[in-house]
Symmetry: C2
Subunit: 278 residues, 2 copies
């Protein structure tokens, strides 16, 4: 066939994109295409260069008999920055203001292409971190959690505010909502989280951090470890933040219901991703 | 650069996969790579052939000045069949049995690679249908709904069982749960669904169809149209099915709690996808 290499490049690109953070042995590709391992190596060199050049992601080559190639998401600042700016503008729209100073965000969370991009940014930020599970709380955090988890190649566990028969035995904890100071309950199915798991907590919105803090307490109940916290929007001007270390894309400062003004800035994504991680 | 075409093929593959059901003008690619439109056409012919040959999807070329190329998901039966069989085996595990004959499915729904594959199958089945929105009900249907919606390039709207301040004004309806015959309420944010939208309803589980039927009533409230219904698992042996036309991947027949036996078969996916759609 005349475009043997072309076909391999297209199929390998698709395969790698569909299997992030998975070590694929060179022999797998060699067998798949009936090609020599040397040809596969050349193909991968081309894909690696293009992925990096075009900001698609990074390919890591592991040498040796048990080696292979691993694709992971790595977002360039040129991609992240305009996206976060666009998000800020979207969120600053005064039409979003709801009674009580709440913000309507359902349309943003309902847009898979935005959600997938948010997932890309978070997956990129945590690409070097050991993560076994992404945890979120129903309902609005779920889409973002899946977008991240898909790219990190790990399962999602969903904490709920109520008990369902379909969850089997559950662990239930009480927590104090940071902003309203009300005592609330969250439950997690006993079967869903293994001891010692490294957990990335993901949510759509964080005010004082009471809900996130509740999820951290849940981790203790399951003897699991906190690997990171990532939120789409954080709210500034909080007297007492209950959570220290987290990543945010957007920071909400002043919400003035009377003047119909929402003050939005970039979150700490770039600050966090500058020094320690890359 | 020596692998000009190679780079284009890799980047175009990634771009098309990230933009399903979107018409991309040839001039867009020509400009992106500084190439002649004739070279882009040749590239696309190679990608089209590989996508079809490898079962990645289909490329549709629209000729003319306003033309371009459109990628959409098209799953081959060779891919769908073993996957659905694997799903059946997974679900038939007697460890899933919960008190009351319910099934624990949280681990299946929590696995993004399974969920994404379910999304691929549904997106493929509805690739020729006009769909503007995917609708689901919180909580378990949400991951599947996003997986489908991503590939159909449409937003998701989430019906809820309770009212939240962050939803703004809502429309609330009562519906009768088909199996328990209890009256329940579901709400949908007024802003989230436009009049005349063509809606694909997606859920994880359907017994008699009361919940799906509730969502259909919700569509009437919003003057929206039903474009299709897709469920991961349907339950057989239902005296009175409230919904006629739907797609299912897995069919649950007998759940015998005492004998710890779950009888699972393939759903109607292949039946539905044989005659009318391809």
């Amino acid at each position: 066939m005349k475009f043997r290499r072309s076909e391999r490049l297209i199929d390998m690109t698709n395969y790698l994109l569909e299997h992030p953070r998975q070590l694929v042995p060179l022999t797998f590709f060699a067998k798949r295409y009936g090609s020599a391992k040397s040809s596969i190596s050349e193909d991968l060199a081309i894909i690696k260069e293009t992925f990096e050049h075009r900001g698609i992601g990074a390919l890591q080559t592991v040498p040796g008999a048990a080696g292979g190639v691993k694709y992971y998401v790595k977002v360039k600042n040129e991609e992240a920055e305009p996206f976060i700016e666009k998000l800020c503008n979207l969120i600053a729209d005064p039409e979003r203001l709801l009674p009580g100073g709440y913000l309507f965000m359902t349309d943003i969370i309902g847009n898979p292409s935005i959600v997938n991009k948010v997932g890309r940014l978070f997956a990129s930020a945590y690409c070097d971190t050991k993560i076994d599970v992404v945890m979120t709380i129903a309902t609005k955090g779920i889409p973002i959690a899946y977008a991240v988890a898909s790219l990190l190649n790990v399962p999602v566990v969903i904490v709920r505010g109520d008990n369902k028969v379909t969850e089997g035995s559950t662990v239930s904890i009480n927590y104090v909502s940071g902003s309203t100071k009300r005592i609330q309950t969250m439950v997690l199915s006993k079967r869903s989280l293994a001891e010692g798991s490294n957990v990335l907590i993901v949510d759509d919105f964080m005010k004082a951090g009471g809900t996130v803090n509740g999820m951290i307490s849940m981790l203790y109940e399951f003897k699991a470890n906190l690997a990171g916290i990532a939120v789409l929007v954080e709210s500034e001007n909080i007297e007492e933040r209950l959570v220290d270390e987290y990543l945010s894309l957007v920071k909400l400062s002043d919400v003035d219901v009377r003047a119909k003004k929402i003050n939005v800035n970039k979150g700490n994504y770039f600050v966090k991703n500058k020094g320690d991680k890359r």
